[in-house]
Amino acid sequence: MSDSPLEFDLDEVSPRQLIWQRFKRHRLAMVSIVFLVLIYLMAGFCEFVTPYGTETRNVKAINAPPMTIRFVDEGGQISLRPFVYGYDMHVNADTWMREYTENTNFRYPIYFFSRGERYRLWGLIDTDLHLFTTGHKGYVHFFGTDQLGRDLFSRVFYGARISLSIGIVGVVLTLFLGIFFGGVAGYLGGIVDRLVQRIIEVLQSLPTLPLWMALSAALPVAWSSIGVYFGITIILSLFGWPVLARQVRGRFLALREEDFVISARLLGASRMRIIFKHMLPSFTSHTITTATLAIPGMILGETALSFLGIGLRPPVVSWGVLMQQAQNYQVIVMTPWLLIPGLFVVLTVMAFNFLGDGLRDAIDPYSANREAS
């Protein structure tokens, strides 16, 4: 349109590249995305990443503190291969404490890509290859062990698989419900709009916790772990959609009057076609941002339900389940490493928030940072 060189240069940059340029400026978002990719990868391959299964017990290390990874041994010798010292456990007859001291006679080198417990990756591939183990003797517990002597490091990543996927699955469900109701209300208007508005109003007037509680208590007792998992996910998303629906509705109302929608209508396009072909794509970016910011709510919701004893339950390992078992005064005073799963929850939730912020800044630079909720 214009011959100005500046405009010409801009034409060379696709919108996607532009977004990426802007996104890169948000440092915390960049760090977050690296963190999230990493943790999702580790959760995805948790059988391989962790040295032990979720139920492997080490009776010699019950409630044992995290082990120190060493490169230098007692005698000051430097070893390129990291190693840990084994624990001597001693139950103190006076304090009833299990006291652990490192025994320098037992030195367990850490081997990478080594053989350990057998497992089935994703229930398909039968193997015993792990990212690291101490071979066939000794044991390594980076995050210490829990009250049954199970390796917390392993459990944290198995838990990550459940908790992180609940976030994703839940958000997809929420998005579906939100876009459906919001879109229908916004596009059709009239009675449908008023009905949806009312439902939203009702759902927002009630504290979610009691509703979650009642619904989870209503889940059939005999359901399998998978059933409960999806049950909980659905419950979490049932109360998450109104926020999104309101945003979508607002967008639809605005878009309905936009030129391109009106011309599509005049050209005789069907409603469905208008909604899916023309209107939805125009706010994909916005939806992605909202979804990113909704995932942490799901993750936190899962931990809250577990805390109340109505969420997931053993043998399923999730961050909520791990935190529920660490939810007492004794843990803070005596075995604080059992709070590590909590740290992962905090970091992940923060990362998603930073990522959401960064995305919004990048995608939507003009309505700068506006929170639509």
């Binding site: 049954l148 004794q330 005073v333």
Partner: protein
Amino acid sequence: MVRSSISVITLRVILLPVLVFLKIAGVTADQAVLPKAWFEPSRTASELGITKFSQSPILSGLELPSVEVRLGKDPLVVSPLADIGRYGGTIRITRNEWLTFPNVESPMTISADMRTILPNLAQSWQTSPDGRRLTLTLREGIKWSDGKPLVSDDFLFVFNDLWLNDEFDPIPRRMAKGGRAEKIDDRTFYYEFENPNPLMVNYVAQYGSFMFLPKHYYQHFHPRYVEKEMLSRRIEDLGFISWMEYIEACRRQLIEESVDQPTVDAFQIVERTPTLARYIRNPYYFKIDPKGQQLPYIDKIDQQIIDNKEVIAAMSATGQLDFSAFELKTQDIPLLKLGEQSGDIRVLIWNRLHSSDVVIQPNYNYPDKRLAKLYWDHRFREALSIAINREEMNQIIYFGQGTPSQMTAHPSSAMYDKQFASAYADYDPARANFLLDALGLIDTDGDGLRDYEDGEPLTITLEFVDWETPKGISLELVSIYWREVGIDLRLKLVDSSLQSERAQANKMQMTVWHGDKVTDILLPISPLWWAPIQSGRENTLWNDWVRWRQTNGRLGVKPPPIMTQLQEWADEMYSTIDDKRRIELGKKILDVGAKNIWTIGTVGLAPQPVVISPKLRGVPDNGIWGWDNRWTLSYHPSTWYFE
């Protein structure tokens, strides 16, 4: 004193040296330091020649009759653990200890040996030769905290006017079924039953504190004594919906109005708010120490109401409570011991009386016939039992201080046999796998868990309430052990009321409860773990067989011969007046139980932390903790005092 002709249990124990029991028990030699008097009927002031009485300083100056008048004719003398105590102090506890700390009084009480019944409010009792009638004679001069005498009518009121009232108890309780209470005079009355009920005396010893109420107070809220319209107006004014609700709430000290009711216990409630209950010493309490000082030594109780058990554990560890035990578990001991180092608390390690902290109960009458049939196969039960590594459980959960055991009688019981405790209790996963293979339970779909022969997955859902003993952590371990032999056990934590409902409705595949009712007082009247005689929230093994028995075959399912045999034995054990025969029958029942593994036990006789203030004296260092001996009752908390 008139001694009962049939309380042979009592006589036997007096003849047997206490130490023999301690040796059998192998639980705690420290019990030898308990005062001998705690194992014998308490003596009275006149028997000991006590003539001078005194009272707590907080009572002087109040408008009360003199202490001699209040104590009555011949007060009961209770020896403290070691030294004579001193008056004073307020003890801080939580509401959860409301039955474990305040000295709750019954007509009879249970000795520290957990097998002897001792006189208390009643000075004597007599069971008729046919076993149908139990006559009680109350001690003379015992008064309610308002000064009114304790009389036979107070007992008759509960039995006839409440328990047999179909508005108050639409469901007649087992204790009252087919019975009635009659008065002979103000201090003498009897319970009479259609069928022989010679062990009614055990019921009175265990549940006696629920068996009487101050009639002169409660009759104002009962339709038999108040005109209907006036009663409903009175109840409505108080904000209640029925007189039954009011009496229940008042009796259980749930409401502000509870402070109006008199008591014979050591403490009377004087304030009740949603967050707090306060008690003060009962000026008419009928017990004294050997120096003639009226008990209790402690003047007041402050009960805080805290719903969260973890908060209670934290409060116990940080010295905010002077007595705490009910909500504490074995795993809390290190935290408590750490708190002990600060000098704010003392941590005593008592012993829980549960033969097994967790009693795993398959539901033999579960509607899914395939699962029920599997349960009924001895090989399956054996496999489940020996797949559990009890020694490892003992190390992990109990610091190696518990006793791996099946569910059987307590070592203090005359029916105890070591063989019963160790039957099928040794860890043997290889044999468990062999047995399960032999049953045709093979993993057909390759998920590592066994399936039925036709390929349908075998899963067992276990519902449980996490109460009193460490059930959650134990079951998590059990589920791991079972998965290691290919059995898919799913755990579901439920609320206790839901457990009641699902137990009644026979909906549970498997459940657990803690293994109490194991001493000579309770086992003979309810051997519920080994014979289908009753069912409820704690026992869900065989509802249909129990119902068959209760309805004489009208409802339920006819039990198999072995169960009929056990029911007959249990009936005879309950109704025989021959003590030797009773023990013999009890052993038979336990023997069949041990051979058949009706239930699966884990670890029992486990350490129970009891936290007390370092200033609190008179508490035994080593006691036995549980429902069967009413927690602290045989250690006389009224003699505990602050230094």
